[in-house]
Symmetry: C2
């Protein structure tokens, strides 16, 4: 079924308040708050050479594709294309946090040292903490994590067990002063992280919270187009600490993960069963011993992984030491049980590239791609091809699809190479012949598959994808 037939399509084109503003940076029209970007005016500084310190493929590709600018060792600024990916990841992470009822807050990046002295971690944290003195010579730090700060918020405002369970999360910049920052945004010093903190009345409730986050993380990574393996990070006895690291599979990963092959099937089922999944064997190489491995070798998969998430139950550790107490149902005060839950949002940009690229460049999963469609106008000086290209991008934008229009005065080969390098999932190629035949080429970046189609069929295809 063609949802948007020719008649309707033409009506939409007529209805649009299309604007061509040569003096501005963008040829755009606005519909549903979406803008069409014209590549000749877009700030996309592609690089042929990559910095000497870019050792891994994601780091090189992020520079070559104009996603980031290096400000200092381990400190990056995000350029428009990279920021679109970062924000897509952020949006998906937030949606999945909101879905399970967590509350979105934003804590300051700068924290007073007092809070960390109270928790006992100020000295323990070592040189990775960026320590700061303000103009009055008082001690502050750039938050590497926020257990202390969130405990301070909750102890100030929470009074009763009736306000529990409570789960506060944020997506905020953090700083860890790595001795040797490397791998670009994968191990940077300033990085964007989602960190969440839970407060529960007792262990049973805390365990339910932990399980709900565990399932939510798997959903989050799946939506990002990734396969994530939750690896037990601490083998404490039941009733003690619970902790899992989430490793996404990438051939170039730093870690090696040994895991039960039944895992992938279970993780992709509609309802993730925590008990079933977390009981499966999954460990990092240093914990794997063939002699004691509980599952037969033919059931074992060995793959490379990148850590992108970490969840951790730590009971009353911070609520006790920082004096967080609320009144229980029996009228007596008690220390809530806590856990913390992190996802490396900026790290994920690099990790996704490690998991999804080829020799031509990045292959973005659709959910995080900076644009879904790139229209490549091969003629560019011809009114007829531009008119076709414009018609198409108006129709796609009206469907809420992000489009980048390559109107640069470049050879076809350069345009194809750019589209491949920056990893846009679909390329629509409009050439001289298109204006005669009415056909354009639709190329799928991931498979390389090319189909000749009419504009109507392309619109039909993307309409189907949406529904």
């Amino acid at each position: 079924m063609i949802l948007l037939n020719k008649k309707k399509f033409l009506n939409i084109v007529v209805d649009f308040s299309f604007q061509m503003r040569p003096e501005a940076n963008i040829m755009y029209f606005k519909l549903n708050r979406k803008f069409v970007m014209r590549l000749s005016r877009y700030f996309l500084p592609l690089m042929k050479e990559t910095p000497a310190d870019a050792q891994i493929i994601s780091h090189r590709l992020m520079h070559r594709a104009g996603l980031i600018h290096k400000t200092s060792a381990g400190i990056y600024s995000w350029l428009p294309l990279g920021l679109r990916v970062l924000e897509n990841i952020e949006r998906i992470v937030r949606e999945e946090q909101d879905r399970i009822g967590n509350h979105y807050i934003k804590m300051s990046t700068i924290q007073p040292a007092d809070l960390w002295i109270e928790s006992g971690r100020y000295d323990a944290y070592g040189k990775e903490m960026l320590r700061i003195k303000d103009r009055h010579d008082r001690d502050f730090l750039y938050g590497p994590t926020n257990e202390e700060q969130v405990t301070d918020i909750v102890r100030t405002h929470l009074k009763s067990y009736k306000d529990l369970p409570l789960n506060l999360y944020q997506i905020q910049w953090k700083f860890r002063d790595e001795i040797r920052p490397r791998f670009g945004v994968m191990r940077g010093r300033e990085f964007l992280m989602k960190d969440g903190y839970s407060f529960d009345v007792d262990f049973e409730s805390a365990k339910k919270t932990y399980q709900s986050i565990f399932q939510s993380y798997l959903r989050t990574f799946r939506r990002l187009g990734l396969t994530a393996i939750p690896v037990q990070a601490d083998s404490g006895a039941i009733g003690g600490n619970m902790s899992h690291e989430f490793q996404i599979l990438a051939e170039t990963g730093e870690s090696t993960v040994y895991y039960d092959k039944r895992y992938e099937e279970l993780a992709n089922s509609a309802n993730i069963d925590f008990d079933e999944l977390s009981s499966l064997y999954a460990v990092e190489s240093e914990k794997h011993d063939p002699a004691t491995c509980p599952i037969p070798e033919d059931q074992l998969l060995v793959k490379k992984g990148i850590e992108v998430g970490h969840i951790f139950y730590f009971g009353t550790k911070y609520s006790e030491v920082m004096g967080l107490k609320v009144t229980g149902s029996d009228g007596k005060p008690f220390h809530p049980e806590m856990g913390s839950y992190g996802i490396g949002v900026s790290r994920l940009v690099g990790a996704i590239i490690e998991a999804s690229h080829d020799d031509k460049g990045i292959v973005w999963p659709e959910a995080v791609a900076p644009f879904k469609v790139m229209i490549i106008d091969l003629v560019n000086s011809d009114d007829a091809t531009m008119s076709m290209g414009c018609q198409l991008h108006k129709a796609l934008i009206s469907m809420g699809i992000d489009v980048l229009y390559d109107d640069r005065n470049e050879r076809p080969g350069v345009k194809f190479a750019t589209a491949d390098l920056i990893g846009i999932p679909y390329h629509v190629i409009v050439g001289k012949r298109s204006t005669e035949t009415g056909l354009v080429e639709l190329k799928h970046r991931k498979t390389g598959q090319v189909q000749e189609m009419t504009l109507d069929h392309i619109i039909e295809k993307f309409n189907k994808d949406k529904s």
Copy 2:
């Protein structure tokens, strides 16, 4: 015309995948990524007492309404309700930046001192700059502004006059180590700011850019529900520096602004004429001298204002000293002309409250309100009223309207006071009698006007508002 008639409304209710999860923090259903919040499970720590340092009304109300948590002097964390307002402002600021073709980037908060030594501002900036040494004893700082950093990005990546004009902007946390932080988020140390930077080939082009930002700022503040007066900040000769501060009118403002009363009419016209508007008399009190004032007294208005924006043209100051050069159309390298443009995003939350409150609390302009509608269920234990309340909030959410449902076990007076304090624009009051008569009360927070209406009429009203 009732866009959503009874039949359709009931269909929507049936279609919804409504979920009641007592174990989660939110009774919600999802449609268009919108969630309905249940106040009994929302993290809204209302305060009866306000901190001793809260001298001005916005600071007191932000604490009382549970918008922020004070982490340290001049350093605040944003709680859920406050963060919703902050993000609404951020969204509007971004939309207006995107509309004029500016490119969205995100620079790091931490900058190397080297860049500021290069520009000559490292020593000049004084104690307001938060200076930091990393573990290798290298000098860094928490960016108070970003002229140096953006110039570094542009000199690295821009080669030709063909890439101009270019305008890069970001919304990012900044730090200024104020000697006496006060007025809550209005003069905090860590704050969220939109800062933009323009690069042009020559003065004529830079002037056009400046004018376009000037007009864009007026549109932005108007959309935020504010009246902003652009006050000339520097009276340099034509061809020299151009600079305007944007003062929003608030009875409790710090500044006193003297301005031509024709201003408000011109600023609210559909097409803002820069030349006409910027030629009108508007100065701060220290520059106003009745003896030399060029306009007659009966044409002069005197009002209190709060500075929320500042735009500044500074020519080749940074491009020269930092060696930013691009090739001109004549093949010769030249230094681009620059300007910078700031809006105090977190400051605006306080400023809007100063401009819009009464003795009962905050009166949010609709565009920035954390929720547009608050449903007040006076019975709460009664299935019939809850069913009416739920029906209504499902319908409103399906229209993309944010709703907070007060299901707390509190007296009506407490519920009314909360709704007034936190400033939600519309309150819908569902009482015992509503289930018999089919009528609920719709109260407008700003005017206090109350109307009895059916649910259908409320839905009709909000549908009309949208179109």
